[in-house]
């Protein structure tokens, strides 16, 4: 008989928790993985110190003119001196509360659309959204409220990007809804007009639409009428957006189960009652992430307005760069600033869209 020989005890298992174990699993799990990790780390060590040095340690922070930029690093004085125009354009300083108030209103309406009690949320927020652009124009322009008039050539900067994008998408909202309905309609002529409209505005570059707004549209108006350039571009953007949003809504309509239509028909609702009371709320809800994505796209595209000379933020930057007292070439600092502003706002909106999407998915599971 063989003598009993116990199997030798296995060594204690590697730690599976804690930072070391995590690193081993995720960063050094294989040879290739380790090499990639090391290469990335080497790059970071090589590049980060000079960048930090340029951006912070040897940067110029204080002063009001080009002459203040004597040190090697970035000239943040440039961004600082022009920051008012980057945000507000040439809007008069004493009237600036109007822009700030508008931003607050915008934030309030956004907040309200997510926090109001459920039974009035949809109705209240839709009305608030539709009234908002009217309030905005009245407030920023000032004419209707008896405030000092600030003509549109003084509007500009980053707030112009925000307002142009917001105002176009909101005004486009009802139109796009009608186009989407038209596309689903049984009436052949209405359907084909809707399809042509939607496909046209989705199929042509937004830059060419801006050019239409700036050089072609003036010829479309009756002789003697003369519509402000910003308004013309706004009109074009509304058309553009209603084409895009119509497609978003088409997706939304398709997502509403046909039982909903049949149920609405069977309780004897009229066409518009059915659409407004039963279908629309569901469509808006399922389309929300896509609406937000469309808004982000539009918001980014407002930088294209530079090509037609609208003083949005990039155009303002280029105007600043061509000022003869700032000819030192601070393009890098300026673009970095614009990049940070855009990236942070677009990124937070993407996060919001994703959150809504996740929330909706949980709703469905309930």
């Amino acid at each position: 008989m063989k003598e009993f020989e116990p199997v030798p005890a296995r060594p204690a298992p590697d730690k599976t928790v804690g930072p070391l174990a995590w690193m081993k699993e995720n960063l050094f799990s294989s040879l290739l993985n380790s090499l990639v990790t090391l290469a990335v780390m080497a790059l970071l060590v090589y590049y980060i110190p000079p960048v930090l040095d340029w951006a912070f340690f040897s940067a110029n922070w204080q002063g009001t003119s080009e002459d203040a930029c004597v040190r090697e690093g970035a000239c943040w004085v440039f961004v600082n001196a022009w920051s008012y125009q980057f945000f507000y354009g040439t809007y008069p300083v004493e009237e600036i509360w109007r822009i700030n108030l508008m931003l607050v209103l915008l934030a309030l309406v956004i907040l309200a659309s997510f926090t109001l009690p459920k039974h009035i949320r949809l109705k209240a927020s839709v009305i608030a959204w539709l009234v908002l652009p009217l309030v905005g124009i009245a407030l920023l322009d000032g004419r209707l409220l008896g405030l000092p008039v600030v003509s549109t050539d003084l509007w500009g900067g980053f707030t112009l990007n925000v307002f142009m994008a917001a105002a176009s998408i909101i005004v486009a909202f009802p139109f796009s809804f009608l186009w989407a309905l038209g596309r689903r309609s049984n009436m052949p002529f209405i359907r084909s007009v809707s399809v042509i409209f939607i496909e046209f505005f989705r199929g042509v570059p937004v830059l060419s639409l801006f050019f239409m707004g700036s050089v072609m549209l003036p010829l479309f108006f009756a002789e003697g009428t003369n519509v402000d350039k910003l308004i013309r571009v706004w009109i074009v953007l509304i058309f553009f957006m209603s084409g895009y949003m119509a497609e978003v809504f088409r997706g939304g309509f398709a997502a509403v189960p046909s039982g909903q239509y049949e149920a609405a028909d069977s309780i004897g609702l009229s066409y518009w009652q059915k659409i407004m009371l039963i279908i629309l709320p569901q469509v808006i809800k399922v389309s929300l992430p896509n609406i937000l994505a469309t808004f982000v796209m539009l918001f980014k595209n407002t930088t294209f307005l530079l090509i037609i000379g609208i003083p949005e933020v990039v155009q303002t930057l280029q105007t600043a760069l061509s000022n003869s007292y700032w000819l030192g070439g601070h393009a890098l600092e300026g673009y970095l600033f614009v990049f940070l502003v855009f990236w942070s706002s677009c990124f937070s909106m993407s996060l919001l869209a994703r959150r809504i999407e996740r929330q909706m998915n949980t709703d469905k599971r309930d």
Partner: protein, 340 residues
Amino acid sequence: MRKKDILAITTLAATLTAGAASVQAATLDDVKSRGTLTCGVSTGLAGFSEKDENGKWSGLDVDVCRSVAAAVLGDADAVQYKPLTAKERFTALVSGEVDMLSRNTTWTHTRDTSLGINFAGTNFYDGASFMVMKDLGVSSALELDGANACIQAGTSTELAIADFFRQHGMSYKAVTFDTSDQTRQGFESGRCDFLTSDGSQLAALRVGLSNPANAVILPEVISKEPLGPVVRQGDDQWFNIVKWSLNAMIEAEEQGVTSANVDDKLANGNPANKRLLGGEGELGANLGLESNWAYNIVKQVGNYAESFDRNVGMDSPLKLERGLNASWKNGGIMYSQAMR
């Protein structure tokens, strides 16, 4: 509710159509009733029309707008500046969006005859030339066969350079940029061997280089670029006002009237001074303006020499020589039509 909305929208639309300025009617009346002059300027061109960090416009072209406003409204600051791109400037003028254009626009035959516009004079005589880096070892434009050119898009320089190279049997590659600052960056990075633009802009671009001493401007001037204010066709009175506002600045320099001594000249000057400044004669009334129209221009904007020095000349970062733009009395060709 719905009717109310429609009403509100119509009112808004009506108010926002910017006073519905009529193209055919007298521009002078429109400007007077509006109380401001709308003037089309460049979106940013060093020395000619630039905005500072406080949003204030200045420059040689801007001063033409200011002088017209001073002549018509008695206030040089009563100007609404409309920054326009090169592409939309003529449409904006013709459609009545702006009352006049003062946007470094080259006076060419084609533009004058086919675009429905009129040039009201020349406020800067310019010409396209070349800038190269010193280490390229080039001293004449004729040595540039096969080189790359940095050009700003949509300028008449684009045509001038094509003509020049064809005429001398040379070839080149044009790299076109959207703005002058990008043109400078392209040149500095070595994308092209030379940068071509109007002489005045070359000076500004050179100042913007990280080391201006490395670049030289070649002696050749390859084109004539007379820059001046533009008005639309069909309103001769307005055409005259813009033309003579510019002339008043030039004439004031010829007569030695400056913003500092204008009051003295009006009271104690010679008959020509008095005629210009409205102390005598009917010059203002003939234009449909107040008699002190030119006084306001000189007092508030200054004469041409003051404007030049302040914006592009020795008192500015650009430090341009007067050259062709000196008064004819000093050997230039800046010449006012007879003010009488």
